[in-house]
Amino acid sequence: MVDLHHKPEKERKTNALLDAADMVFSQLRTMALVLKHTFTKADTVEYPEQKPYLAPRYRGRIVLTRDPDGEERCVGCNLCAAACPVDCIALQQTIDDGGRKRADFFRINFSRCILCGFCEEACPTYAIQLTPDVELAEYDRQNLVYEKEHLLIKGVGKYPDYSFYRHSGIEVDINGERKAKGDAQQEKSPIDIKGLMP
């Protein structure tokens, strides 16, 4: 059997003196190249004084946003808590007098949260959103447990025009006015399924 993989090593003429000179040159060249970096600018971003740019969609501290009417977007559906891989979200749904569903309590334990953004992806009402704020340091671990009042912000976050209850066909109070079935955006009036008219 012929060994096909074996090839004779390439013959190379070696000159000890030339090799040594080559080695010395190589070392000196390395040092010269490093020395050149004396005059290059450092890449360091001096963090506390100099804030790095964080993109608007950066995954940082989690907030609960409001719809354009200033009402809470969260309907307490629990999808975020189900999606959370580290189980750091806890909440309870209630229905208020106006017919809105909302979170009775909403708690995120940021000492567990890995800022993966799955909750934001799971949220059907754009309520839960991640913000470009990463400065979550605390001296006391317990201070990293955020309750609903800590999480709720005044603004609309990334989706300024979206309002779940204006879209959905649920009978509900919006700004004190009753929105009946069929009054939602792009919603047709309900059909009387027992009627005979076309």
């Binding site: 040594a20 390395t30 490093v34 020395l35 970096h37 450092a42 890449d43 360091t44 001096e46």
Partner: protein, 324 residues
């Protein structure tokens, strides 16, 4: 009596300055490496981070001074002391300026070589007493490396001795009045510097403590103040080799005609030392560590013959009357 007191004061001042300088070198090194790697280095404690070393010192003093129960207690404690003391002793023969210098020993150069040899004990004993595999490997490497490199370190400076006709370091400096020995002893200087790097086990010859393979080598088991002593010894060693290079090959405190009146001799000496210290740091940033067998064969196969060749040529030229 007054003279003795004055001498004691001089010694105290020199030691009292050397140790903070060695501590400052840690900062200088980290800062320079940072610059050469396009970083900033420690710049938080004090202006430009200058107090970083003192912060480090405070931290290291606060650490538990732990002696592993499996170690040889006495030797374990003694080893770092030997290292620091040997290096500090070597500074006794260094002439800092025409007037400053602890001792005008007529065998100053031999004393330096002897102290450099004794310093090996520190590393070897540390490696042995630690009773741990990494420390032992580091100690063994240190022994082999230092013994090999010492041979041609001694030979490389013999050219200087031939030219100046003296082992006294002050006289060696004075003999360079008409031209530094770097001109006639360039090869000797290169060999001495390489041996010096190996003696102070700095990168690229830091095999005794090679982090990537031996954790921390001979000082793996050390912590707290004893570790600090090793550190101090290393940085004093860098200063010592730099000082010796300056004394032997770069005219010590002397400078050529127009420059010498600009600054006092001591300042020139310090600037020259600083130059070499920076060179040591540059070596650390730029060159990778050789394998151990490469290190030894490089020493015995290239450096030793070169040192002998240098000595031979210098001797022949001296006999031929080239140097007068």
């Amino acid at each position: 009596m007054v003279e003795t007191l004055f001498k004691l004061l001089e010694m105290t001042v020199i030691i009292g300055l050397l140790i903070p300088i060695a501590a400052m070198l840690v900062w200088v090194e980290r800062r320079m490496i940072g610059i050469w790697q396009d970083r900033l280095g420690p710049n938080r404690v004090g202006p430009f981070g200058i107090l970083q070393s003192f912060a480090d010192l405070l931290k290291i003093l606060g650490k538990e001074d732990w002696i592993p129960p499996f170690s040889e207690r006495l030797v374990f404690t003694l080893a770092p002391v030997i290292g620091a003391v040997c290096v500090l002793m070597s500074f006794a023969v260094i002439p800092f300026s025409p007037t400053i210098g602890v001792s005008d020993l007529n065998i100053g150069l031999l004393f330096f070589l002897a102290m450099a040899s004794l310093a090996v004990y520190s590393v070897v004993l540390a490696g042995w007493a630690s009773n741990s595999k990494y420390a032992l490997l580091g100690g063994m490497r240190a022994a082999a490396q230092t013994v090999s490199y010492e041979v041609f370190m001694g030979l490389s400076v013999m050219g200087v001795v031939l030219l100046s006709g003296s082992f006294n370091l002050r006289e060696i400096v004075l003999a360079q009045e008409n031209g530094w020995f770097i001109q006639s002893q360039f090869l000797g200087f290169v060999i001495f510097l390489i041996a010096g790097i190996a003696e102070s086990h700095r990168l690229p010859f830091d095999l005794p403590e090679a982090e990537t393979e031996l954790t921390a080598g001979f000082h793996t088991e050390y912590s707290g103040l004893k570790f600090a002593l090793f550190f101090l010894g290393e940085y004093l060693g860098v200063t010592l080799i730099s000082a010796m290079s300056v004394v032997l090959f770069f005219g010590g405190w002397m400078m050529p005609e127009p420059l010498d009146s600009w600054l006092p001799p001591l300042m020139w000496f310090i600037f020259k030392i600083l130059f070499f210290v920076l060179f040591f740091i540059l070596l650390r940033t730029s060159l990778p560590r050789p394998r151990f067998d490469q290190l030894l064969s490089f020493g015995w196969k290239y450096m030793l013959p070169l040192a002998l060749f240098n000595l031979l040529v210098t001797g022949a030229l001296k006999l031929g009357g080239v140097y007068g």
